[in-house]
């Protein structure tokens, strides 16, 4: 006995086959749908005015998990009320951000229209993937940058916003963390006279303080104040980007640099920096001093990046440290009134204070309307009003990148305790740190990530005693020269 054929004439096998094929087709259609350009959500309403013309659209902003983004993420309502645009913010650790941005730019679609464009890890390697913002500045139908780009601190605009050409602007300065000297004022005042007597100089940090004095102070704390603080100094010397930052301050102070014409290579940047100069006598002397300094630092220094160091300082593990000035808000909440700030000490040549600021850019993969909508966000996020609001934010908030904000009476008043804007307590110190003779700008070159890795790896070897400072500097020089000569292929 056999079953009759189905009334429709379709065999069970054929039916199952068809069902399988149909499912596959649906899955494929779904997958392809998922690959569709994500920018389709931006629609223009030409008659709605400059700020409201993209009302109802959705923008994606990708950022490092930094203070200003924390403040904006905590309160995006003003932007949505002003523009009618829904803003999604993705915050990531810096290396994860760089990956996402690189892959997004490679895809040719703009999942993220607004980009936190770190000058060294995003702007320099992927400048071709960012919009030259001058085209949007020239668009009369769009809101203009309040007070013009001239209101941005010039060094910030150059370092965070431009690449190679002084005319192009790829990003608007968005944040400006800078490494400065953070110290326990309470402990320095308590021991000031004893230290002055023992060391033969006034230990209070100031413009004339030197790295040799810093070392002597750290050692004095180690030997004499263990009941108050376990170690005199702490550093962000983990095998990480932070180690390169920490060392660079000393390198510049001793007159060394990564390449010839370091100010130009760090400011506007270049695609061909020339031979590495880390094997110069000044760089080797700096490495010798750094190695000596780390030998008396808190042993945890070798495992701390900036966050680890910030936590250790706030927990009272060290009396002083070089760290990003945006940790002031955290210091003030954990050690209220006990911390003060100064530019980093001078070496034989100058004081070098690593600048770590970043700009806000727009993906070049965006459609015309997407980039115009993203421009609204860029203008809003870097406006004086929002920079002031960030300063006041309970979420932390960064410090302004605009001259005009620092001149506001309420900001000037907040430079002294009690301050409703704890990060601005660092303003006098960072203002000196940003002066052209004091600012430290690492090389802005496309292959920086690989050079950076070579630098902090060799420094880490030096600090654990695997290599001597001069050998470490020469090995780094060789590696950087190889990397630079290989060139940067990913965006060519």
């Amino acid at each position: 006995m056999s079953l009759p054929p189905p009334a429709s004439g379709v065999s069970r096998r054929r039916f199952l086959g068809g069902a399988l094929g149909g499912a596959a087709a649906v899955a494929a259609a779904g997958a392809l749908g998922g690959c569709a350009a994500p920018g389709g959500g931006v629609t223009r309403h030409a008659d709605a005015g400059p700020w409201r013309q993209y009302a109802g659209s959705t923008l994606n902003f990708i950022s490092e998990n930094t203070a200003p983004t924390a403040a904006i993420a905590a309160n995006v309502t003003p932007f949505t009320e002003l523009t009618g645009i829904n803003l999604n913010i993705v915050t990531l650790e810096l290396s994860a951000l760089v990956q996402k941005v690189a892959l997004d730019l490679a895809s040719g679609h703009s999942t993220y229209q607004a980009i936190y464009a770190d000058p060294y890890q995003v702007l320099a390697p992927y400048s071709k993937g960012l919009v030259d913002l001058r085209e949007l500045m020239a668009d009369q139908a769009l809101p203009q940058v309040p007070l013009g780009v001239g209101d941005f601190i010039p060094t910030h605009l150059e370092a965070a916003g431009k690449f190679v050409s002084p005319d192009t602007i790829f990003a608007l300065p968005y944040d400006c963390p800078t490494l400065i000297w953070q110290y326990r004022r309470d402990l320095f005042e308590k021991y000031r006279d004893r230290m002055a007597h023992d060391l033969g100089f006034d230990p209070m940090p100031g413009d004339a303080s030197t790295w040799d004095q810093y070392y002597a102070i750290a050692r004095w704390f180690n030997d004499n104040a263990r009941d108050d603080v376990p170690y005199g100094t702490g550093h962000q010397a983990k095998q990480h980007d932070s180690l390169m930052n920490d060392f660079s301050n000393v390198l510049w102070a001793y007159g060394g640099d990564y390449f010839d014409n370091g100010r130009q290579v760090g400011g506007l940047g270049t695609v061909d920096p020339g031979p590495c100069r880390l094997d110069s006598p000044a760089a080797i002397e700096a490495a010798n001093f750094y190695s000596k300094l780390l030998s008396i630092a808190h042993p945890g220094s070798l495992t701390w990046d900036w966050d680890g160091l910030g936590n250790a300082f706030a927990a009272g593990q060290v009396a002083m440290c070089p760290n990003w000035h945006e940790y002031a808000a955290s210091n003030e909440s954990k050690l209220p009134g006990k911390v003060d700030y100064a530019p980093l000490p001078r070496g034989p040549v100058r004081s070098g204070n690593m600048y770590g600021g970043t700009g806000l850019g727009i993906s070049a993969s965006t459609t015309g309307d997407e980039r115009r909508a993203a421009w609204l966000f860029a203008v809003w996020a870097t406006s004086p009003e929002i920079e002031l609001a960030n300063l006041k934010s309970t979420a932390g908030g960064g410090t302004p990148t605009r001259t005009s904000v620092y001149q506001l009476p309420e900001v000037v008043a907040a430079e002294h305790r009690p301050s409703p804007m704890p990060n601005i307590l660092t303003a006098p110190a960072v203002a000196k740190a940003w002066q052209p003779e004091n600012i430290g700008l690492r090389p802005k070159i496309p292959m920086w990530n690989e050079c950076d890795t070579a630098i902090f790896t060799q420094l880490s070897r030096m600090l654990v005693g695997d290599s001597r400072p001069d050998d470490a500097m020469r090995a780094t020089t060789d590696q950087i020269n190889r990397i630079v000569s290989r060139g940067w292929v990913a965006s060519s």
């Binding site: 596959a24 690189a102 983990k238 042993p299 495992t303 936590n311 690989e450 654990v464 292929v489 990913a490």
Partner: protein, 306 residues
Amino acid sequence: MTTTAPVRPAPTDTAPLRRRGLRFEGRLLTPGVLLLAPLSLLPFGFIVVMSLSRVHLLGGVRFDFAGLTNWVRVFSDPDVGMAWLRSLAYFVLTVGLEMLLGVVFALCLWRVLRGRNTALSLLLLPMFVAPVFVGLLGRFLTDSTFGLYAWVLRHLGIETDMLGSQGTAFAAVVLMDVWEWTPLITMIALAGLSSVPLAIREAAALDGTSGWQLLRYVVLPSISSVLLVALLIRSMDAIRYFDIIWVTTNGGPADATKIVPVRLYEVAFRFFDLGYAAAIGLLMLLVSIVVARAFVRLLGRRGPAR
């Protein structure tokens, strides 16, 4: 009334397949292969091509043929060579310790009659934690500012930071992996032990064997096939170990914990040197296959689990 016999569908659609040798099993496999092709085979082909190219990202991914440049670099790069040596040390230490401790714990649990399930549940807990959280936990416990282990060491007069020197950092990441994955070996070994026939054990006892002899000549041979499977599983994991190291030490200090997967990640996603990364990745794949084949061959020689 005339009836016509149902006409069987002409075998035109299946006959050619049969003629080409695609039999019933092959046709059953076809949907799976079709699904796997876009997920595995095409990317694999892509990576092979990548390893022979310089890869440009911006403006759409573009490959420029570079011949064997990347492969020459893989075999001449001292950093990659050192990473392989560290990987080998890491592999031997983690897999060795996990197998040893896992079997010891399983034997202990096997002997426990009351509370075995509770003890096993507690022992298995680390296995259910995501590796990245194990790394974070390890980092917090060893942090010199607020870490419990650091605090204990300080009170014992040891002022060093565990993740701050090469030897201790390497030991720390090995121990974190061992802590997480020993329970897996315990579970697998315990399952094997449960299947050792009671009759054989009783016969051995009647023959007057000591506890060690019973273990050496009866129990371990009985569970050797199961242990080989456990070894295979852990070996594959150990070769591609990444999370804990990335979270705790970032490969440092002084590259002491930079094993091959960490180097691969760095080359691919920090330097975006994707052609070179593809070559490193393919070499890793090759090593994984060789190790897996060695274990599978060993398993085949011993026959199926008894």
